[in-house]
Symmetry: C2
Subunit: 151 residues, 2 copies
Amino acid sequence: MQNTNVSAVEAEFETSPERVRRTQDSFSIGDLSKEFDITTRSIRFYEDQGLMMPERRGQTRIYTQKDRVRLKLILRGKRLGFTLAETKTLFDMYERDGSSVNQLQTMLRLIDDKKLALRQQLEDIKVVLHELTAVESGCRAELTEKTKENP
Amino acid sequence: MQNTNVSAVEAEFETSPERVRRTQDSFSIGDLSKEFDITTRSIRFYEDQGLMMPERRGQTRIYTQKDRVRLKLILRGKRLGFTLAETKTLFDMYERDGSSVNQLQTMLRLIDDKKLALRQQLEDIKVVLHELTAVESGCRAELTEKTKENP
DNA sequence: CATGAAGTTTACGTTAACGTAAAGTTTTAC
DNA sequence: GTAAAACTTTACGTTAACGTAAACTTCATG
């Protein structure tokens, strides 16, 4: 087990190509906003919501590698359909439970919920697509009729 | 062509079983809210947004069959993923163009847009489902490892 | 030393479709 | 005849995730 500080779950999210440019160990808010292509407003918002707590040098925020990984996790969570509140729950859980067994179970529950909801959405979308096609046919039929009348 | 007042598109939306109980020809807001299982607040909201303009007897709203059909169309539009604004556009169009050739073409465009967006959504959801499954596997693996350590 | 880039806080604005009082009038029922 | 049910208007609240503007400080550079 080579875990130093970053949670196993966090480590899991590390993608291999990143290891190449392991140079910096502190970042400005602008650095991160550029790297992840989000606004600084967003990053400050995440802090507002209790998802990050970077150090300060005076007023200025200083982000560590750990913070950077957190941000990465936030964004991946978003892509997976987690709300910021849900992601925060996971973070809080890890904070109180380093071993994170609890966290993993919660995550599994969350994932299960998401999968269920997504499958439902999938079905709904299919149904609506069919309905739309039906309405479309009706429209086309009516349209050819109308243009037949008024050439 | 047996169109009296209701547009051909509106007529198209009429479902057959309805014709059986063709009794009333005016309705209260409560009648409609019960029939379609929505709140009176919603109905008044649709009026606010310019989607309906029922007559009044004093202060009280009186809805005709035509209004009822409109409401039905609004709700079907919602099920099909149209915003109220989009539905309003179609209504306005019919108001100015009884023959509604224009309306039909606009509708076809709208439907096409929706279908495209839905297909995209479908793909996105599939991708996310796969990602979720992957993350889930990772969690499970890690979990069995942890519980192996601390039995 | 000025100036422009990057950082900061505070706080209101946005979107969609209603929910939820509050406070009043009208209708219906017994 | 009165009390409950149904109707009305007005208007602020909700959700999520920021956008945007104002007004300020700090820093580096030519």
